[in-house]
Each structure stands twice: as C-alpha cells, then as structure tokens.
C-alpha cells in the first residue's frame, strides 16, 4: 500500500471514530456556551478592534484584510506563510522552508522577491520585526507564534506615512491577545517527527496583569524526499571528481585536488529540519505595558541553493537566527475623550548565529562557510491623537531610532562568536588562498533615523470622509524623504462604500547595498513607491460582503546591480529601476447559513518597466484565486475546506529550466476540528490534511534562478555558473494532528 493510501486510510478511520463520538447539539459556531455564563461574565466579554488608532476596517484608509483568531483556529494555520497563501496577491518562491539564510522570498502584488523580502513591513503589536541591518521581513515561518494572536491585519499598499520604512508593498501586523486570563495549551504532531508545543498563561496580581506565551516547534523535515524535482537540482547527482580549492590537514592551500568522495552519489534532497522557539512575556496595567519578545530559528537551509554544489542534506546545512526585544508602552488620556498620548520605548537585537552556513561539494568540502552578525536598535516613539471635534481627529508623532549595524561576517572553518563583528578565520582571505584562520575585523556602523508624521482625518459630511497626512524621515545613511498619503471614503448608505487611496512608501538602502566593499554605494537613495487604489465594497446585510480593488503602483529608484568595470566584482548597486504594477482584486465573504461560511478571492496583475510594455510580471501568476468554506454541522464539529488556484507563472529570462513559463497548481487543504472532546469543554482536537490530493508544485526559483543543471559535470565542470535553482520543490500531502486544552 502506498504511503498516500496509508495516510488516507488512517484519516478516514480517525474521522469515523471521532465523528461517532461527537455529540450533536445545536448548529452553532461558538466554542463558548454563553448561556452558562453569569451576568458578570457576560459583561466582561471583550469586543476588540485593532488598528493604529482603533478604527473599523470600513473606516480605515487602506486596503486591509483581517485574519481573526477564530479563522486561525478553524483553518489550522501553523505560520504566517500558510495564512498569506489564502489571501490575494502573494506569489511565493520559497514558502515555509527553503529561504536559506534569508527568511523568505515572495512577492506581494508584484512587489518584492528580493533576498529576505525587504519591501514588506512586519510588526508585532506595533513593534517592527524587519531585520535592523538587512531589512529582511522576519517572523513569518514557524518561529512566529500564532497561539497568542488576537488578529492579524494584512495591509496591501504603501504604509510608510504612518509606519516608516519597508512598508512598500504592504504591512503584516500581528496583534496579540491583551490581558488574557487562563491557561491554554496545544500539542501538535505531524510526519517527519514534527512536534510542537504552545502554552499561553495569564492572570492578575491586583491591578497588574501578566501574560506568558511559549512555543517550541521541532521537525526533522522530509529532507525534500517525495517532492517534485524534474530537473535533478536536488537528486541523482554525483560528487565532483576534484576539489577546485581546498586546505589540507596542515592548512596548506591547494587547487584542483582529487576529491575523496569522487564518483559517489550525493544524497538526494535537502535539509529542511526545524528547531524554533518563541517567547512573549508582558506585564500590563491600565496605562502601561512592559514586555519581552524572543524568537529563535534554527532550520535547515532547504532548497535555496542547488544540491550538486552544496552539501544540502548535511546536519550543519542550517540557518540560525534570533530576535530579542524589550519594550515599554505607555498610553495616557491627557484630556478625556479628546487627547490621547501613546509612547513606545524599545531595545532590539537581531542576531545571525555563527552556525549558519553550509559546505560546498566542490571546494573546501570539510570546512563550513558560516555567517554571523549582530545588530541592535534603540527606539523611542511618541504619538498624540487629538479629537478636535466630533468629526475631526489629528494624529502627530515622532520617532527616534539609533541602530548599531554589522554586515554578515563570513568565515571558513572555525565556529565564531556570533556577537562579534570579527572573525578568526575570514572567508574573504581564505578563498584567495592566503591562508586559513586569518583574522578580519568588520566595521560596525552606527546609523540614526528621525521621523515626524502628521495625519488629519475628518468628515465633509455624513457620507464623505477624508484623510491626509505625511511623514518626513531622515536617516544618517540615506538622507531624507517625504511619504505622503491621502484618502477619501464615500458611503452611500449602510451597504455601499467607495474608497480612493493614494500613498507613498519607501525602503531605505540596506547596509549591504550601501557598504559592501565590492558592490556598495554610499550615494544610494531610498526606493519609493507611489500607489493609487480604488476600492468598492458592498455589504449584503446578514449575508456578507464583496469588495473590488483596482490598484496601480509605480516603484521608482529601485535599487539593483549595474555593470561597473571599476569595481572588483564588475558591478555595483545603483538606483536604476522603475517598474509599474497594476491589477484588480476581488474578495467575497458570505455567510448563507448560520453554520456555513464561504469566501472567494481573486487577483489579476500585470507589470511593465521603462523598456517593456504591460505584460506578466516575473515570478508571478497573472491569475490567482482562493476559495474556502467553513461548515459547522453541529456545535462540536467543524470542517474547513480551502483551495488555492495559482495560474501559470512567468519566469525570468535567466531561468533556463523553464521556457518563460512555469506551470501553475491547485492545492486543497482540509481541517477537521472536534470540540468538547469526550464531553470535556476544555479539550479539542484537530486533524489537518494539507495538499490533500498530493499536488506536485514548486515555487519559481528566487531572484535569477539561473542554475543550469545540464552544465554540471562532476569531471569537467563542478561549479557551473549560478547557484540558485530554477524552482523550490514543495511538500506533497501532509498530515498534522493537534490536541488543545483551555483552563
């Protein structure tokens, strides 16, 4: 019996067993029996909206999609990537693994796709998660905890006027539960020794509330086995006959020496193991909150580089990052119902631990090339919301940032002190043959940023409201920039709503782009994007709503590499690109019956450059759609069914495996949830069947994806041009089971 059939049989058996034990009560969606609550308990139920200034989605001058904690629970989401797959606009190169030493590679409405996706801002409770030095969008895979999340707001379109840099394509804002009381836990088990435990605890001591959330996620990963690899980038390869460069046991440099592994098969696949931990602890009073957030990710590098040039299945083929934040938030009403003051103070550290790295197959094959860095930031932000009258509010704010940045320190052989900006065994020196274990000191850069912003929101009439604002940012590394925004919202009645939005956002040049010794350019200016958007929404009372969005974006001064013969590498960074994206997206959410809800979203997008007319965007599908249905036939049983449809995708010219087009795919996920397990309201269990029909699919090779497997020859050409594979294979059918309790 094949593995798939065995898995399906197990699922059917489990389903039958549990379904027969479920009690049939009323067809209600709620997990809580509100009738059993006392009057005081009913009165204490909190109804939460979250935005920078507590607005409903209809009132927000942005294209916002909200993912609630109920949606996260019902759909069995394990990480942010799974959530984004069900939203319109996201095209993935790598998904929840395979990012390599960078967190992720994907595009949002055609923008992004660079290493670490620096054009997307990620926040947790208003605290920026993007890497301090490299701007990478962090915290999107299993190092992020969803167990203590109240809701996630995904804003598409520019958000710099309120939130600053990196909010170019959009913002992912994770909002955690506040003042949670109780003790919840969740155990998750899956294939390949996947095990996860999450705990959430909160209580009061007098008027002080404290809350602790913990997560550990472990998995051996499937090692890429069973994933589609039609081009043999990760399979059926042989070790090269020679090592093009090496240091012998005595530390002597040698070239073109016989490889002891010559002729042997390179193990198929790639290390995509996971070892992730997260902690969030906060103490709150009515006005103040102190907290500590910590996350650590030690994962296999996955499919981000080809398997014939790198020892991709090795245990030490890993990325190891961590992030730490300590913060204090204060919120005070200065004048009742009129003036509120919010103040945030934080200290952050982003570390890349020195066991991040890999070994080549064709050179220095016993010595690990490793990367480490440590950057820190101190920030202070103040914001005042002033309600001028019933219809007008002014928001003013200021932010100060001090960053201490280091580049990635690259070493060969010896494991380094990850917090240092030095190495005892510089790769840059070793690769030239000048010797192993040579010290190199990397420079530390101190950068500061100041920003002030102001926003005015008001109403011309009951039906027409407006917002206008701007942010002025000044960075010691990149100069100054203005990012305005404006919006109009027109409501015909309770049902129709029309929004017209304009915004500018920026991404400051990263430390690497500015200061890399071979390619850096200190005269780089920030990239800027202008986005125009029209949104038309209609509510069908008691049934649902539909929303249409037309958007047009122009990314100016995009930073990219250009040829420069004066540089050692023959190239340097410059502000060169202009690109344009336009598209239409639609979202439909309906609740035709009390126990049944459905959603459908679709996006069409195109792009052009200054040289080429409108057409498909590289790395994206012209058409993408997602459909989902949630059905709760009885109170204690829930079925969630979701389909992702991705049309065929355009590949860049540099990607030699595909002839301009890569196939699309359709993926189906089903999640079954049983509450009140064994008639115990504290217990529930869930079975998740991801990629139910075992669809073969992959992400398009990140960036150039230019490796040509046909050029690899273990005897004659062990190091062909390019190291990024043409695609990143994704898993087939996967099963996860979880057990949750709440006290």
């Amino acid at each position: 019996m094949t593995l798939i059939k065995q898995k399906n049989l197990l699922c059917v058996s489990l389903f039958t067993l549990l379904a027969s034990n479920s009690s049939e009560i009323f067809a209600q969606e709620a997990k809580h029996d509100y009738f059993a609550l006392s009057l005081e308990e009913l009165a204490n139920i909190k109804v939460i909206t979250s935005s920078r200034r507590e607005q409903s989605i209809d009132d927000s001058y942005a294209n916002i999609m909200v993912v609630t904690k109920e949606m996260i629970e019902r759909r069995g989401y394990r990480n942010i990537i799974e959530i984004l797959e069900d939203l319109p606009g996201f095209d993935f190169a790598t998904y929840e693994d395979g990012g390599g030493e960078y967190p992720v590679h994907f595009l949002n409405r055609g923008i992004g796709g660079d290493n670490g996706n620096t054009r997307l801002l990620v926040m947790v409770d208003g605290l920026v998660q993007n890497h301090i030095s490299f701007n990478w969008a962090q915290g999107l895979t299993d190092e992020q905890m969803l167990f203590d999340v109240e809701r996630i707001e995904v804003v598409q379109g520019p958000g710099s006027s309120l939130y600053g840099a990196q909010a170019v394509s959009g913002i992912i804002h994770i909002i955690t539960k506040q003042k949670f009381k109780g003790f919840n836990g969740k155990l998750l088990l899956g294939e390949d020794n996947t095990q996860s435990l999450e705990l959430l605890f909160g209580d009061n001591i007098g008027s002080v509330h404290y809350q602790l959330a913990l997560k550990t996620y472990l998995s051996d990963g499937d090692m890429g086995h069973g994933r589609p690899d039609p081009g043999n980038f990760f399979s059926n390869n042989v070790y090269p006959d020679i090592l093009t460069a090496n240091y012998d046991a005595n530390g002597n440099y040698e070239t073109n020496v016989a490889n002891p592994l010559a002729g042997q098969m390179i193990p198929d696949g790639f290390n995509n193991s996971k070892d992730d931990q997260t902690l969030r602890f906060k103490i709150s009073t009515d006005n103040m909150q102190l907290g500590i957030n910590y996350w650590e990710k030690q994962d296999g590098l996955g499919s981000y580089v080809v398997g014939y040039e790198y020892d991709a299945t090795a245990d030490d083929f890993i990325t190891h990052h961590s992030g730490f934040t300590v913060y204090m938030k204060n919120q005070t009403t200065l004048i009742d119902n009129k003036v509120n003051w919010k103040s945030d103070l934080w200290y952050r550290v982003d570390s890349q631990e020195s066991d991040t790295g890999f070994r080549y197959t064709y050179r220095f094959n016993q010595l690990k090339k490793s990367y480490h860095s440590s950057s820190s930031q101190v920030g202070f932000e103040n914001q005042i919301d002033w309600k001028l009258d019933k219809n007008k509010t002014v928001t003013v704010g200021a932010r100060l940032l001090g960053n201490r940045q280091t580049e990635q320190v690259v070493s060969l052989g010896q494991e380094q002190n990850g917090n240092a900006s030095t190495t005892n065994s510089s790769w840059d020196i070793a690769v030239t043959g000048a010797g192993l274990n040579q010290e190199k000191v990397n420079e530390i850069f101190d950068e500061n940023e100041t920003a002030v912003y102001a926003l005015l929101e008001g109403q011309f009439s009951e039906q027409l409201s407006y917002s206008i604002g701007t942010r002025y940012s000044n960075g010691s590394d990149y100069g100054s920039t203005n990012t305005p925004r404006a919006g109009l919202i027109y409501r015909t009645d309770d049902e129709w709503i029309l929004k017209a939005l304009y915004g500018v956002a920026f991404r400051q040049p990263s430390l690497f782009e500015l200061r890399d010794e071979f390619r850096g350019a200190m005269d780089l200016t920030p990239e800027k994007i202008n986005t125009y958007e029209l949104e038309l929404g209609k509510r069908f009372k008691d049934l649902g709503q539909v929303k249409f969005n037309l958007f047009y974006s122009n990314l100016k001064d995009g930073i990219n590499l250009i040829a420069d013969s004066s540089r050692a590498g023959g190239e340097r960074y410059a502000n060169v690109d202009s690109s344009y994206v336009r598209g239409l997206s639609t979202q439909l959410n309906l609740q035709p019956l009390e126990h049944l809800s459905v959603y459908l979203n679709y996006i069409f997008q195109q792009g052009r450059t200054d040289e080429q007319g409108w057409g498909r965007l590289s790395h994206t599908a012209k058409h993408k759609a997602n459909f989902g249905m949630n059905w709760q036939p009885w109170q204690t049983f829930n079925v969630n069914f979701r389909v992702n449809y991705i049309g065929d995708r355009k590949t860049p010219e540099s990607n030699q495996f595909f002839d301009g087009r890569a196939p699309g795919y359709q993926k189906v996920d089903v999640v079954l949830t049983w509450a009140d397990l064994f008639d115990n309201p504290a217990l529930s269990t869930q079975l998740s069947l991801n990629n139910l029909f075992d669809e073969d699919y992959y992400g398009i090779g990140r960036q150039a994806g230019s490796s040509n497997r046909n050029e690899y020859d273990p005897a004659l050409n062990p190091d062909p041009l390019g190291f990024i594979p043409a695609y990143h294979p994704q898993p087939g059918q996967s099963i996860y089971w979880s057990l949750s309790f709440r006290m």
């Binding site: 009323f26 067809a27 209600q28 969606e29 709620a30 809580h32 509100y34 009738f35 609550l37 006392s38 009057l39 005081e40 308990e41 009913l42 009165a43 204490n44 139920i45 909190k46 109804v47 939460i48 909206t49 409903s56 989605i57 909200v66 609630t68 904690k69 109920e70 109240e150 539960k177 003042k179 949670f180 009381k181 109780g182 003790f183 919840n184 020794n193 095990q195 435990l197 705990l199 605890f201 909160g202 209580d203 009061n204 001591i205 404290y210 602790l212 913990l214 550990t216 472990l218 998995s219 051996d220 193991s273 996971k274 070892d275 008691d542 609740q591 009390e594 126990h595 709440r742 006290m743």
Partner: protein, 190 residues
C-alpha cells in the same frame, strides 16, 4: 531532532508554566474576547443576555405565563439571532421553561415576557413602544437611543464591551422591577 529533545523541552516549558500557575494558586477562567467584526458571535452573546434578563427582573403575574408555565422570549421583526435564539428554548429561569419565538405583529408580541425589537422595525418603533408602554413586557433592542425613545433596555457599544442602557422610568411604567445586580453592570437612565 529527536523525541527526547521534545520531551525535555516540553517538560521545561510545562514546568515553567506551572510555576506561574502554582505561584498564584487560583486558576482564573479564560477571558473571553470576541472580534468586533464577528457579528454572529456578538449576537450569540446578546441572546445570552436576553435569557439572563429573566433571572434579574420581576414581572407582574401574567396570564400567558401562568397558563403555559413558561417564559416567552420573542423577536419582533427580522431576526438577527438565528439558531442562537433557538438555543435558548428548553432552558429554565426561575423554575420556568424558557421558549423563544419570532413574531411579526404587535398582537402576537403581547404574549411575550421579553420582546427584542429588531432594527427592521425602526420606522414604526414609536407605535410599537406606545403599544407596550404599560404592558409588563421587557422591551430590548439594538436600535440607536432605544431607551431614550421609550424602550427599557438598549444594547450599546462601549469601548470594549457590549453595553446595556436601562431606562428605569420606562421599566416602572411597565411595572417591571429590575434587580440591582443587573443595574450594576448597566448604564442607568431615568
């Protein structure tokens, strides 16, 4: 990674968490939060309120109640609660069985003990409230300024809660006594 690793980490996590748990000795019930966009969940909470009102009001003797030995909780107009309202039927309050029903006319509504007036009836609200002014029927609604317009209990949106606004004067006219426990959690207007 092996199972041994998970076991040891899990034990650490659980032990750490239980230290917090034990150090406070009281296990607080989980705080319930609801998304403001989740109208279905909010309506379920409101039906729970309707049911609870029966426990905290004194109604004068009613012929219908005496005959049926039950309380009637009714919705006049377009029903926003759906199956949540049906979930109330069969429960008990003050020893009597509660049943829920949907009514479309004022005449039908006269047999109710609690009458939720739907927003669909906004335009004829004055007529409805005048009809029940001195009837021993607890009128409840989400219609804006309901308790100022002659109703007894209005659901209102507070900053983070589902609020209640109770008009004691209107309650007295209807000969309904409201318990201090209910008044404590509400905003009271005379």
């Amino acid at each position: 990674m092996t199972g041994v690793n998970l076991i040891s980490r899990s034990l650490s996590l659980v032990t750490f968490s239980f230290l917090f748990f034990i150090s406070n000795s009281l296990v607080a019930q989980s705080e319930i939060t609801v998304d403001s966009e989740n109208q279905i969940e909010i309506n379920r909470i409101k039906t729970a309120y309707l049911y609870n009102f029966l426990k905290f009001i004194d109604l004068p003797p009613n012929q219908s109640t005496a005959e049926t030995n039950s309380f009637a909780v009714c919705v006049l107009g377009k029903d926003p609660f759906g199956l949540a309202l049906d979930a109330m039927s069969g429960r008990k309050a003050k020893g009597l069985i509660v049943f829920s029903k949907r009514v479309t006319t004022i005449a039908e509504a006269r047999a109710c003990n609690i009458l939720y007036i739907s927003e669909s009836e906004s335009e004829r609200l004055d007529l409805i409230l005048k009809s029940f002014e001195q009837s021993a029927i607890l009128t409840v609604s989400d219609i804006r300024q309901f308790s100022q317009k002659g109703g007894i209990i209005g659901f209102v949106k507070n900053a983070e809660r589902i609020g209640l606004e109770i008009n004691l004067n209107n309650a007295r006219k209807a000969n309904i006594k409201i318990s201090g426990l209910l008044l404590e959690i509400a905003e009271v207007i005379e």
